[in-house]
């Protein structure tokens, strides 16, 4: 399972991180996290299900392009970091 870490900015929402999640893509793994923690979804995705503009995800040490994040394939042992993009201030 993928290991999903969240930025300290979201620590109050995900105090028990990192979270283990199953999924073939970043989007699948995040969906698995949100299934258990539905209140986190709106902080990471917008109402259309797109990654928020100022949220960025690193997969195994590489920052994923915002518009190709959710479909990015990941391995079963992937390590994901959901971080605030500093473009957001």
């Amino acid at each position: 399972m993928a290991e999903v870490h969240f930025t300290s900015w979201l620590r109050e929402l995900v105090p028990d991180g990192p979270v283990m999640a199953r999924g073939a893509t970043v989007g699948d793994a995040l969906a698995a996290v949100f299934a258990d923690k539905p209140h986190v979804r709106g902080y990471v995705l917008d109402e259309r299900g797109s990654l928020r503009k100022h949220v960025c995800v690193f997969a195994d040490g590489a920052r994923l392009p915002c518009d190709a994040t959710l479909g990015h394939p990941i391995s079963a042992e992937a390590k994901l970091y959901v971080m605030q993009a500093l473009s957001g201030g």
Partner: protein, 356 residues
Amino acid sequence: MSGRMLVATRKGLLTLARENGSWRVAATDFPGVPVTAALHDARDGALYAALKHGHFGSKLHRSDDQGRSWQEVAVPAFPADAASAPSLFQVWTLEAGAASQPGRLWAGAIPAGLFRSDDRGESWQLVQSLWDVPERAKWFGGGYDAAGIHTISPDPRDPNRVFVAISCGGVWETRDGGETWSLHGAGLIAAYLPPELAGSLGQQDPHRVARCAAAPDVMWMQHHNGMFRSTDAGLTWATIKPPGDDFGFAVAAHPKDPQTAWFAPAIKDELRIPRDGAFAVTRTGDGGKSFDVLRTGLPQRDAYDLVYRHGLAVDGTGTRLAMGSTTGALWVSDDSGEGWSLVNAHLPPIYAVQFA
């Protein structure tokens, strides 16, 4: 001590003058227009103001008569064939070249282009060598959609050495007049990256870097994740730790004493407000080993003032300081920050302050 200052604001360029012991707004230029950077060129007395019209893009104006009149000159522009073909979002900083380079100006932009003029802003060239470094692919915006250059520091000992700092793209130096660039910054740490990337030089977010004019190897940095000092012109950095908050944007370096610098801290990045509503400046006089927290004359309750990157200035004596906040307050100190006097609490949001 300097008796005039330029204050670049969300609603125009204000020139303040000291008369009979107090400061007043002596001129308001470009009223209503955001002024993203201003420069007083001590070599020839010219003033420059970079505007960001909401509808009509960025523009650059110059005054050759102490601000009595202004003329529009060329604004830095990305060549149409530049990689990724960006367009200028704003000029973030303007710097004068060396005394031996009359007419030389530098501009740092968002997106993170470095531009050079050799004719007092009549024309500009993108410094292609920095734009083309492969590391640029990993730069990203800090507070804006695109990365930007907010600090340009020519080495006063050697005009071929120029240091720049990029949010978020780390710190760079050329030693050959811009032909080639080296990425520096060992010791900087980014907590907004996964732990294994925290030391990645090309993705650091130096909020602002200030250099000691008399000891140019000494630089001070307010970084997104702390305060740092370098004694080797930016190659390596050591954390300095004030009591309380070490987040902020601005830093000012004493022009003569390499042990002294000032910072304007706030609670770290999630909040960016003064702790407990009490606004303070921190100062070190021993190279960062210890700090004074200076509060006299600054609001100590219900204050939300935040000082942006270019909002804290020190004059050539190292005694007079000026500081402007995002909530439109402007203060001056005449005793190295021990005490502050409020000049005006009702200005537009302040982007930059400079003695002129």
